[in-house]
Amino acid sequence: MSKTGIALLLGLLAGPGTVSAYTFIYDNGTRNPAGRTTGAVTFTLTFRRPAALIGDPFAAARSAFATWDALTTANITFTDGGQVADDSVGRDGVNKLTFNSTTNINFPQGAVALTTIFFTGGNIIEADIAFNPNPPQSLSVTGASGTADIESIALHEIGHFMGLDHSGLLSACMYPFGNIGNTFKRTLTLDDQIAMSVRYPAVNFSATTGGVVPELSLGDSGIPGRGAQAVALGATDGIVVASALGDDEIQDGVDAIPRLEGLPPGSYKLYFEAMDGPVDTNSFDTNFPGKPFSLPVTRFFDPAAILADSGINDPAQAPNFVVQAGVISTNVVDNHVPTRSTLNITTLNGSVLPVYVLQGASTNLTLTGASFSTSGTLLITGSGVTLSNTTITTTQITTTATVASGATAGPRTILFIGQVNNIQQSSALSGGFVVQAPAALATTTTVAAQSGSGGEAAPTTSSSDGGGKNQSNCCVATVLLGDRTSPGMMTLYAFRNDWLRPSEAGFSVEKTYYGHVSPMARKLASSQALKALGRHILLQAAVQPLQTVQSSASPSQDLAANF
């Protein structure tokens, strides 16, 4: 093959398809939430891809950065710094995402991905995201059955990369356990959005949102509600908006007074939930180092409560709390002394992951846990979800949940209320039941289809030429061949990964390509005639010869040697 032919191929191939409770991480030196001094961050991907993965993991990673970048309430901007060869993780001045990080780190058993963060004086000076090249869970770029979706994982890790810790809401992207077999967590929930926006507020964010610092005085104890999360529900629709965790004296010397900030103005019902499973304080080690304690009670917040009250467990009886723009209400204290709850829901359908149900559909739920009273009540917050055929034993509840077609979409809380030892108690799975609008599901399917089936849509992404909000670039070959996993594209990718990238020359050419191809791709995407012509040339000149070569040769260095 001539050098001219190789150069043409490189131009077409090198882009990988440039498609592109709440809590904060604490620095245990300064005792402050750690964050970056600026929300403008350049990220870099490394070249090597997960073994045996079909599709484009780099596009998935870029898409995750773009999702955070598009958040208008947060002052964050990700710039795509292109790709580098060095897979090593650590402090080298580069904020990196790598799929092949075993060059210098050893993953503990069970970790799919992790984020390393360097602090100095409470400031994050660098972070790297490392996917386990030998993951305990199969990965995909489609969220196919039995796999974890790379884009969803990347979205979660980018939250850490910017200083967010986990959320105790099952529905949140920052929940510690990822979904399997779907792409629902490619979308940021309100909780995730608020967390990032509180950390890096856009202009006017604080002025247009409000909050509350709900304080459980637990009377005489001096042991406030350490380790519980406070959750804000929409007062009428029962949708979980945000959660915050008590900070365990790290930030302000006072235990467990969660700050629910960044709430859109409106009416809310607030409750405290014990972090007693599925998420517990073990998942928040920087907030609760060595203290596996949690407020042992779940109940609604009632500033009017008096000591003799038994506490409010039923959202229908809970008072509304009005949040006003620009106002954070403090010194809001519930003085009731609750009795410790033994009632506890710990798993949902044998797992710790949320259930997603379409409007108009129904599903069976099985909850396990402890101290379920057989005369208790199971409910899902808000209206529009009815439960039937409910059976309760002391350790298991089964029911069928039916979602009305007009039910408000969004995450809700599964709540069980029962009498234990003659005292009313409750337990919640916050964000455990997510009502999906068909449109939302269709959007998710479309995203998956971009990498899994045909279609001419030019995938959008940030790229090396900026990465600013609302930018759209594309790869020439992807535009011409349409789908990133079409046979033609897979042939080109195989060439790039197996033959081209092993050479340093290939790396540098690929990097150069980024800087020049986007305008060409946009031009092609705008014209059907140009696309048809380009597709013909590409298939004749590149794909078919490559298919012949690939089927008759092992991936030696023959082609790369032409450099």
Partner: protein, 190 residues
């Protein structure tokens, strides 16, 4: 209290234990932990020592445990694990999901080998169960919310939350916890 601990560590010349936040993990039930771990032990953390690697690009921490009991496997009276993250001077490296250990804190640890052949905690924080002490009886307890009601110890059942906040619900005694692990391991035997 935390300030006291930090000062004590400084005086002892012990580096603060590793920072930790979490990452994308698979979920380990107690049963899965028991079966997937190579070694399960009860021990006390006796020291944490963080250091830079040779190129000063990574901080790792060695954590040593004095072992009082093995439930599975055997590694001798002292066990040292090495994990990513830690603090050296003003520099700190936090690694999502790594468990943090308090010197003298008693824990049940589920260990597995990483690709270097060294041991790490399985499932990151999931494989570390802290041993609590009942404030009234001194009995050792381990949190186990997923265990069925009838087996659990409900310490302070009639006490208010404020009085029993140090011992939340859903615990097994340490002996009961170890017996439960044994039961899972028995199920594995042919």
């Amino acid at each position: 209290m935390r300030i006291f601990c930090a000062l004590s560590l400084a005086l002892l010349g012990v580096v603060t234990p590793p920072l930790a936040v979490a990452s994308s993990l698979i979920y380990y039930s107690l049963e899965k932990l028991a079966k997937d771990s190579e070694v399960i032990l009860v021990g006390r953390c006796t020291g944490c020592q963080a250091s830079w690697n040779e190129g000063r690009t990574l901080i790792t921490t060695e954590i040593t445990f004095q072992v009082s009991r093995y439930v599975k496997g055997f590694l001798g009276p002292q066990v040292t694990i090495r994990q990513l993250g830690g603090r050296v001077g003003n520099d700190a490296m936090s690694v999502s999901g790594m468990p943090e250990f308090q010197p003298s804190g008693e824990v049940v640890l589920f260990l597995g080998r990483d690709q270097s052949g060294g041991y790490q905690v399985v499932g990151m924080t999931q494989g570390r169960y802290q041993v609590l002490s009942d404030p009234d009886t001194g009995e050792k307890l381990v949190r186990a919310p997923e265990i069925a009601e009838e087996e659990l110890v409900h310490t302070g059942k009639t006490r208010s939350a404020s009085e029993s906040a140090a011992v939340p619900g859903g615990h097994l005694t340490l002996d009961g916890f170890c017996a439960r692990i044994q039961k899972y391991l028995e199920q594995e035997k042919p």
